[in-house]
Amino acid sequence: MARVVKEDKRGKWSSDLVLDLYSNLLQEIWELVSALIGEAILAFLVTLAVRKLGEKYPFLNSIAVSEDGISLDEMKEDCRTVAPVEIHRGFQSLINHLSHLFSVLAEGVINKELFPKVFPKVKEAERIISPK
């Protein structure tokens, strides 16, 4: 069950809440895409995407990826000092890059399935978290 993301008392988003939001999103992407291309290939692609973006967003390197799925548990500790907006940007880039890899592999076949179900939530997350 997805946790509801709320603003804290100071009207700012805490890193934990942003992580929860993207953890749920990545979970949905995992479930949908692994059903199409299998866990092994998806794990390979997520690892590839993380490696690509890890230099720019070092906190992404603590995403644990295996054929069992994606876990952000280890990341929470590492992200305490990272601004929520930066976390949001990192995950946004990750999802965009994954989407790019999906289209490299199968043109629109994966994204056609993914967009209606997951990308509205990505947009929603962007709307909520992005600084006004």
Binding site: T47, L105, A106, V109
Partner: protein
């Protein structure tokens, strides 16, 4: 529903055919033979990174331009996935054309690649290559095609990984790890086969036993690491100096042996002399120094020396080598029975 069951059955038999294949070509053929029952496609490709092999299994009427587009696209996708650029010119292309479509649906000579599915052959986080389904029709593949194709890809990756491991174990069993030449075990097996062949058909067979003169001095003076480099260099010279059908093996230490199938005594002497001269005229870089090295060689031949077994033929070559050493080294000796006849180096 019935169609899904039918497709699942085809998928099952495809996977079974792939998993029971033992060679890469067989794996590709097993998949290629079954895929037309699952998908409408113009071309099915398998790229195997290790040997830069690209197998294409495609519709008979596929024009060359379409084939090239498929190759380019697979290389492009693999380069993105493998994070390494692949030189398309170095790829060894194997194309197999089959009648995949009815006559009225043959491909246009100007057909272009309109849709594709390409998946990495990924096992344990490592990419071994990729597979690709290609079509000259727009939107030829849907989500279900992708699901089925990914199951096939998964099985192919697993089978290819087994194949890779099997090959590496096989390589360890037949190659010398230092020099990359065949090892003694392989030599024994190959000699058995070659000897059997020539004893039955009375065709000639020569053995050349080779030893680096004073090699111990190299090790003692420059150390074993440099000594190993010399062994590698000599191995490389031996390998490039023989005919395609000849076998070069490391017999042990600084000793090598050559099997020269169908080589008469005169021919084998010419080959051995060529090698001897080549090594004599080569300056070997050993550490910061340059040194000259020489080889001693002994030749035995069937039927000239009337050997009755492969063991006897090997002993004769060894005896001739011994005589080359005793005669002053840097020479090729031919077995002559009790006393080896020395051939004076030119």
């Amino acid at each position: 529903m019935r169609l899904i069951f039918k497709n699942l059955n085809v998928l099952r038999s495809t996977i079974n055919a792939i998993s029971t294949s033992i060679e890469i070509k067989e794996i590709v053929e097993s998949a290629g033979n079954n895929l037309p029952n699952l998908f409408d496609f113009s071309s099915f490709g398998v790229f195997w990174k290790e040997d830069l092999l690209l197998f294409l299994y495609q519709e008979e009427s596929c024009p060359p331009s379409f084939t090239q587009e498929v190759v380019n696209n697979m290389v492009k996708v693999f380069s993105i996935l493998g994070e390494e650029s692949v030189d398309a010119d170095r790829i060894v292309l194997h194309t197999e054309k089959r009648k995949l479509r009815p006559k009225q649906m043959i491909m246009d000579p100007k057909a272009a690649l309109k849709s594709y599915l390409t998946l990495p052959l990924a096992v344990e986080g490592e990419i071994l290559g990729c597979i690709s389904l290609n079509s000259d029709q727009s939107n030829a593949f849907d989500a279900q095609d992708l699901q089925f194709f990914s199951v096939i890809g998964y099985q192919m990756a697993a089978t290819l990984r087994h194949f890779q491991r099997f090959s590496s174990v096989k390589n360890m069993a037949i190659y010398d790890t230092l020099t990359g030449l065949h090892n003694r075990r392989y030599f024994e097996e190959k000699l058995e086969v070659e000897a059997q062949k020539c004893f039955c058909s009375n065709t000639p067979l020569s053995l050349v036993m080779v030893d680096i003169d004073f090699f111990k001095k190299v090790n003692d003076t420059f150390g074993h690491t440099e000594g190993d480099q010399v062994l590698c260099k000599v191995s490389s010279l031996l390998k490039t100096s023989v005919r395609k059908k000849d076998i070069v093996a490391r017999y042990g230490g600084e000793e090598f042996i050559l099997i020269l199938p169908e080589a008469r005594l005169e021919e084998s002497f010419v080959i051995a002399e060529r090698i001897r001269r080549l090594v004599e005229n080569t300056l070997f870089e050993v550490g910061k120094a340059q040194v000259n090295l020489t080889l001693s060689m002994g030749i035995s031949n069937f039927p000239s020396h009337r050997a009755k077994s492969k063991e006897e033929l090997t002993e004769m070559a060894d005896q001739a080598l011994y005589d080359a050493k005793r005669g002053g080294r840097n020479r090729v000796c031919i077995f002559t029975g009790k006393f080896a006849r020395e051939a004076v180096p030119t």
